[in-house]
């Protein structure tokens, strides 16, 4: 059923009883040409593009829980392409462009809202780094603007200009950045993939990867063995566990990142704003909740919950950046398990096993990458060759000495 204003009116007048399921609930078939492990945003997008862009059929997505139950359903919904390094920026800009056409393509409103991201800086060194980054964006054709303090005082008068421990001296603005309704992205891709015949199989946990003569022949699952011609892993925080089933050696640690939402408030903050003297960032959703977060908790964890010290630290930074947040009440905190890579950048790559493909290392920034991740991973699986914008995101870049280290923090995941 195609969604439109007409379909809404028509259904409303007939009691809304004719809406059809957004996707089928198929039983797994014995064999698929391609299986994608992980029914989150990236896995669903991969399946969609495999079918839509590369015309492939007989595809399944296996999800151990419900669709979108991983990080696509618990993030801070930010979409941006303001990266500095040539290994990243073209990829994220490709993603940004896909975002801009995604909703009509999927016939699903994911409420992409290009309200702009402002990254604040607080000293000359940070300013220089942001200038470098802004110019790197322009090199890729991505508009960026440097805002001075006076401009910020007009645009964001609620920031702490008078009593800041670390004064705000300016900011880098990417106007096309913004937010999207995270669950809807997963649902939109799921529905669109389903319409192309992709089997979305929920409650189907992969427990083993069967190999024969060095190639993958299928997966053991909680719903039995399912054979496949090619296998793509898009398991985010569980990448290491799934990878281990194929003896992959991975540069990944799983870390917990907390995020928060406040009670619903009348709109007051129109941009995504990031704090340069810490990791805090905030935006306001279309429902009115202020959505915010900061750094990872710092230790390896598979628990989707965080610690109080980090919660306090995040809110200290919040009040320091925007003093008027002091009386805003925080409704809920949650934790997602991040697949932190050793350089803070993602991996879309071949593996040592010919028909096994890997998509991981999204750290705390996987949401914005969803469309490009799916597209490039589909490209890799379908054509067995890397998409040009993802050509640096190789698994072997670490041993070859080509890290993509935006933070310059080195091979220690909790510093990225």
């Amino acid at each position: 059923m195609r969604y439109s204003a007409f379909s809404i009116v028509k259904n409303a007048l007939t009691g809304n009883v004719s809406w059809k399921p957004a996707w089928r609930q198929p039983e797994p078939k014995p064999f698929y040409d391609i299986i994608i492990v992980g029914g989150g945003g990236h896995g669903l997008a991969t399946a969609y593009y495999l079918a839509k862009e590369f015309g492939l059929k007989n595809i399944a997505v296996l999800e151990k829980g419900y669709l979108g139950s991983g990080n696509v359903g618990r993030n801070t919904t930010i979409v941006r392409s303001n990266y500095m390094l040539p290994g990243n920026e073209p990829f994220y800009e490709f993603s940004m462009k896909l975002w801009e056409g995604m909703e009509r393509e999927l016939n699903y409103n994911a409420m992409l809202s290009q309200r702009g991201i402002i990254s604040l800086f607080h000293n000359d060194g940070q300013r220089d780094a942001y200038i470098r980054r802004g110019n790197a964006m322009w090199m890729e054709g991505v508009p960026a603007e440097l805002l001075d303090r006076a401009t910020l005082m007009k645009m964001l008068p609620f920031l702490n200009f008078d009593h800041a421990r670390f004064p705000i001296i300016g900011g880098l603005l990417q106007k096309r950045a913004g937010t999207a309704r995270h669950d809807a992205v997963a649902w939109g891709y799921a529905r669109a993939a389903d319409r192309f015949g992709v089997d979305l199989i929920q409650n189907c946990e992969v427990t083993g990867i069967r190999r024969d003569n060095g190639v993958v022949t299928g997966v053991e699952t909680s719903r039995g063995f399912i054979g496949c011609g090619k296998l793509g892993l898009a398991a985010a925080g569980n990448t290491s566990r799934v990878g281990q089933m194929a003896d992959l050696k991975l540069p990944i640690e799983s870390h917990v990142l907390q995020a928060f939402v406040t009670e619903g408030l009348k709109p007051a903050i129109n941009h995504v704003i990031t704090y340069g003297a810490g990791h805090f960032y905030i935006s306001q959703s279309d429902k009115g909740g202020l959505v915010f977060g900061a750094e990872i908790d710092g230790y390896n964890s598979y628990a989707q919950r965080g610690n109080l010290a980090t919660v306090e630290h995040v809110m200290e930074e919040g009040v320091t950046m925007i003093p008027g947040l002091s009386r805003v009440r925080v409704l809920r905190s949650w934790g997602g398990v991040m697949d932190m890579s050793m350089d803070g950048s993602p991996i879309i790559s071949h593996t040592p096993i010919d028909n096994l493909y890997l998509n991981c290392g999204w750290c705390y920034g996987g949401f914005k990458a969803t469309p490009a991740s799916g597209f490039c991973f589909a490209h890799l699986i379908a054509k067995n060759e890397t998409h040009p914008v993802a050509r640096f995101l190789r698994l072997d870049r670490f041993e070859r000495g080509y890290p993509i280290d935006e933070q310059g923090a080195g091979p220690q995941p909790n510093l990225h």
Binding site: Y3, I8, W19, P21, A22, W23, E103, R104, N107, N109, M111, S113, R115, D124, D128, I131, R132, N135, A136, M139, E140, A144, E145, L146, D162, H163, A164, R165, F166, E263, G264, L265, K266, P267, D286, K287, G289, R305, L308, V311, E312, M315, E316, G318, V319, T320, P323, G324, L325, S326, R327, V328, R329, L331, R400, G401, P403, D405, G408, P411
Partner: protein
């Protein structure tokens, strides 16, 4: 009039009237009221508007699960939006305003959404607003955003203060109702350190609204007796107004104490809220049970209320919810409330019972309609009747309030915050907390023990177990005897069929039964999908009332057990917590501690303008008379140092003392260049790599004796380097005999640089500091004239003849003053980090602007420093990776504009002349840039692909952000004194 204050009764102090305002109206209540009870007593039934349809809403509960009665309390920067009137303690002068309405609560234009509701069903927005593309952000989204949210955040600086505190106890009891009180008493009497926390301003929990007798006394009096005993125990701490919002690892609980939220004028010396981190050996969750709403047509009108809330308002606050009350129940609770209301003189219009077999006895003369349900309610902004259906026959019962009771849900939120899944109990028709280990034990109604006697007993028993577990002994006790209790049973009723109006599940978010059905129909039947698709349970009450009914409905609609549907995930916070409380005193200038150099005072006296540098403040430049810009000051300072001499505070650089017979070996492994044979009395520049071969930090290290070195680090990485060294020593090489001690704070360290530096130094120092006696890279202990021992180093960041002098920090000010005095004749000036930065760029010296974590020693021109001989050092092996040695790596070069008056900015990128800007064509970037007063034009350090082969090439410095393109010549990065003549003079 509907609701009113009863003539007598309740725990409010009728001798202490309090004035307050609601939407500009002056009203009055009593001390002991909540805002909700006072509003109700003033017959203010309409208190808010719902989120989506702007429906008129009234008070539903008497506690923290309230979905409707949200108001903004306070004015301007003191306003608290979305405050639940049901937990807001009334105080004189309280000023409350309703929310989400325009122009007024009574006439709200947003209510038109209700008419459009068929089009605005669950998830409607995902299906539309996509055409035309530009319309979402320009038209649709602004409309949606305008409708967003409930209260308004003013985003002004909060004038009040907050703080944080730690507490430790053997047993934390959460909740001071019957179970909690008995637990605290049992543990307190046994000598445990007990904390009893309750979100209410008055301790006693449900006992405060009870009418039964316990051990022969009225329940509230029983509570008071227990509380006074607890108050007399020195090992028991009582924490009223304290909400335990989170259970974290290792039995640490987060709690917020509302210290001064109930006063009009807070005292300055106390915070308004205080965050507690409670470290509890054990905890007992006695949070009681929440009454479950019934889902029936028209169940959201003002005047429809939980029967338990009606009972609380009557018994505890002396307020009747209506004059003629209809009660819709599926269990005994409705009868208990009916009895209490009748005792208070309230008329019961009818009891509508969904069950056929009923053992409860209604009060005399009250009509009971069995096997019946309410299918609609009459009235607009207050309820005027209930439409009751029984066996296909409808009748309207006139009433001015409807009490509803759908049974009980134990409040298990905290117990399920750490991953435990709630377990369905078929017996109790509700979800219970599973066993979550002995750190947290659930007791009383929170554990499904609904009878008062059961709660009292359970609290005492479970505390006694904990007492014994912790090695204390509990004294024997007999359980209190309860008179007149009723059996708290009910029959689950997820949905009252035949609704003739919307039957709401989530009141605040306007989710009704059909929305849940639609979600299921569209494939969003998983409880998490249903929540996310319909927004059920996502409002400020986080589904405290709606969650269980959504689960029940999803189960009923699919013909499965609620056990197979489960609940959504419980996460902190149990109730919302203000940013302010979580931030405590760490805000504004106190967001991070300030570190002050021992020369801070000296710098201030000399006109310094400071800049923050990590936690430190450092002088950026020193203003002299007539200077209007930082450039004027910095240029003067630079020229003066090149020509005369200057003094700079370098105390903030990290200093680490290294002791031990293996100190030299340790440094040799730590640095990429050799240190084993550094002679005593010598300093050496050292480059420290990360294990991946990239530069980590640099600095000089001096050997003061065979087994004693002192290392300097950059200001930024002082803490990190120390930690890295400890890691290497303790984890990699525990066999090395070496000890470290940070001495950053011990020394006031000063750089004295410039051609006349020696003249100044010699005037102060007894020892010979001539080039022969104290050449470049000399290091040692000297004596200042007057007898002070100091450390002296012949090192230079500026490229000039320079010394660094370190004296005990307390003497720093005095020594710096003396240097300025001795230097006056030689034209000395104080200089700051701006001048220092220019001086080092002129000399081609690097900082973290160059060493940004992606740079190898060779990239920065230090390739030859890296020892090929040493068998091992941190970073050696991975330095040889292909990518780190590739010929096209970016290498550090100098840049000077071809036209001398042109400006270069750090962060600009580099392009070949004529090349089109693109990521592929990007040749590198400018890491540092300045105007060189020495040379009279701009200079820059940059990283350029294969840069060292490209000296003399013209390159475009591309700064699109500034709209600037400058042609520059690539050159050697050392602009001043490449032969080091000045350095060695």
């Amino acid at each position: 009039m509907t609701a009113y204050r009863l003539a007598s009764g309740g725990l409010v102090d009728r001798n202490a009237p309090l004035d307050f305002r609601f939407d500009g109206r002056n009203l009055a209540g009593f001390s002991g009221d909540t805002l909700a009870s006072a509003l109700l007593a003033s017959d203010q039934l309409l208190v808010g508007r719902s989120f989506k349809y702007h429906r008129p809403r009234g008070i539903v509960t008497a506690g923290p699960s309230e979905p409707n009665a949200l108001v903004t309390i306070g004015k301007g920067a003191n306003s608290d939006p979305n405050t639940k009137a049901t937990v807001a303690e009334l105080y004189s002068g309280l000023d409350a305003r309703s929310q989400n309405r325009f122009p007024s609560l009574k006439y709200d234009v947003g209510a038109v959404n209700g008419l459009l509701s068929p089009f605005l069903g669950a998830g409607f927005y995902y299906k539309t607003f996509m055409w035309p593309a530009a319309f979402w952000e320009k038209v649709y989204e602004p409309i949606i955003r305008k409708a967003a949210g409930l209260g308004r955040a003013v985003l002004e600086r909060d004038p009040q203060s907050y703080e944080k505190c730690w507490a430790h106890c053997d047993l934390l009891v959460v909740g001071s109702g019957p179970a909690g009180l008995m637990a605290a008493l049992t543990a307190g009497r046994a000598g445990l350190r007990v904390i009893l926390a309750d979100e209410d301003f008055r301790l006693g929990g449900s006992l405060l609204g009870e009418t039964v007798r316990i051990d022969g006394v009225y329940a509230p009096d029983f509570a008071e007796t227990a509380l006074s005993e607890l108050r007399s125990l020195p090992n028991v701490t009582m924490m009223p107004r304290t909400t335990v919002f989170g259970w974290y690892d290792d039995n640490v609980f987060g709690a917020v104490e509302r210290v001064q939220k109930h006063v009009a004028l807070p005292q300055a010396k106390l915070p308004v809220e205080r965050l507690w981190r409670i470290v509890a050996k054990r905890a007992l969750l006695a949070s009681g049970a929440e009454e479950r709403p019934l889902v029936f047509g028209g169940n959201d009108k003002p005047g429809v209320m939980m029967v338990g809330a009606m009972r609380t308002y009557a018994n505890r606050f002396g307020v009747a919810a209506g004059k003629s009350v209809a009660i819709f129940t599926n269990g005994s609770a409705g009868y208990r409330t009916a009895a209490d209301l009748v005792a208070h003189g309230v008329d019961i219009a009818a009891i509508i019972d969904s069950r056929a077999d009923v053992s409860e006895v209604a009060p005399d003369g009250v009509r009971v309609i069995r096997s019946a349900s309410v299918i609609d309610t009459k009235g607009r902004q207050r309820v005027s009747g209930a439409v009751v259906e029984r066996s296909g026959f409808e009748q309207t019962i006139a009433c001015d309030a409807i009490g509803m009771s759908g049974g009980w849900n134990p409040v298990i939120h905290l117990a399920c915050q750490r991953g435990a899944k709630a377990v369905w109990s078929e017996d109790l028709k509700t979800f219970l907390a599973p066993d979550v280990g002995n750190g947290l034990v659930v007791a009383g109604a929170a554990a499904g023990r609904y009878s008062l006697a059961g709660c009292l007993q359970d609290g005492a028993d479970k505390a006694a177990m904990i007492v014994a577990d912790l090695g204390f002994s509990a004294s024997a006790h007999t359980a209190p005897v309860v008179d007149g209790e009723i059996d708290p049973s009910f029959t689950a009723l997820w949905y009252s069929p035949g609704a003739k109006a919307k039957a709401f599940v989530d009141f605040q978010n306007d989710v009704h039964v059909k929305d849940i059905g639609l979600a299921l129909r569209e494939g969003f039947g998983h409880v998490e999908h249903a929540k996310r698709y319909t927004t059920n349970g996502m409002a400020t009450d986080q589904g405290k009332l709606s969650g269980i009914n959504a689960t029940g409905l999803l189960a009923a609609m699919q013909g499965i057990s609620p056990a197979d549907v489960g609940t959504t995930t419980f996460r902190p916070f149990y109730t919302p917590v203000a940013f302010g409380a979580m931030a405590g005193t760490s805000r504004d200038e106190h967001a991070a501690p300030v570190r002050k150099s021992p020369l801070h005072g000296w710098a201030q006296r000399n006109g310094a303008v400071f800049v923050d540098s990590g936690l430190w403040y450092r002088p950026a430049y020193f203003t002299q008379h007539g200077e209007k810009t930082w450039r004027e000051s910095a240029d003067r300072e630079v020229l003066n140092i090149r020509e005369n001499v200057g003094l700079c505070d370098v105390s903030t650089l990290g200093k680490i003392e290294i002791f031990g017979p293996d100190a030299a070996e340790f440094l040799n492994r730590l640095y990429c260049n050799p240190f084993l044979k550094l002679p005593v009395g010598k300093a050496r520049y050292g480059l420290m790599l990360r294990e991946d071969g990239m530069v980590y930090d640099d600095g000089t290290t001096s050997r003061l004796s065979p087994e004693h070195f002192v290392m300097t680090t950059t200001t930024a990485l002082a803490v990190g380097v120390m930690s890295h060294m400890e890691y290497c020593a303790q984890v990699h090489w525990p066999d090395l005999k070496v000890r470290f001690c940070s001495s950053t704070d011990q020394w006031a360290q000063m750089a004295i640089a410039g051609p006349k530096a020696r003249l100044v130094m010699q005037a102060l120092v007894e020892d010979d500091v001539s080039d022969a006696a104290f050449p470049f890279l000399a290091a040692g202990i000297v004596t200042l004239k007057g007898g002070v021992k100091a450390r002296l180093f012949r090192i230079s960041f500026s490229g000039e003849l320079a010394y660094e002098l370190a004296v005990p920090a307390g003497l720093g000010d005095a020594v710096a003053d003396a240097i300025m005095e001795e230097g006056r004749a030689h034209g000395i000036c104080a200089y700051g980090v701006e001048a220092l930065n220019v001086l080092r760029i002129e000399k081609g010296h690097v900082t973290h602007a160059e060493f940004d974590g992606r740079v190898t020693p060779d990239d920065a021109g230090f390739g030859r420093m890296v020892s090929a001989q040493k068998p091992d050092f941190i970073g050696k092996r991975l330095s040889t990776r292909y990518g780190l040695t590739a010929a096209d790596r970016m290498q550090m070069v100098g840049l000077k504009p071809v036209e001398a008056d042109q400006h270069i900015r750090a962060g600009a990128h580099l392009l070949r002349e004529g090349a089109k800007p693109s990521t592929l064509n990007d040749q590198g970037y400018v890491s540092s840039a300045c105007f060189s007063p020495t040379l009279g034009h701009a200079i820059a350090l940059a990283f350029l692909k294969s840069g060292r082969e490209r000296y003399g090439e013209r390159i475009v410095v591309w700064d699109k952000l500034a709209g600037a393109e400058v042609v520059a010549e690539v050159c050697n990065p050392v602009f001043v004194d490449p032969g080091n003549a000045k350095l060695n003079s």
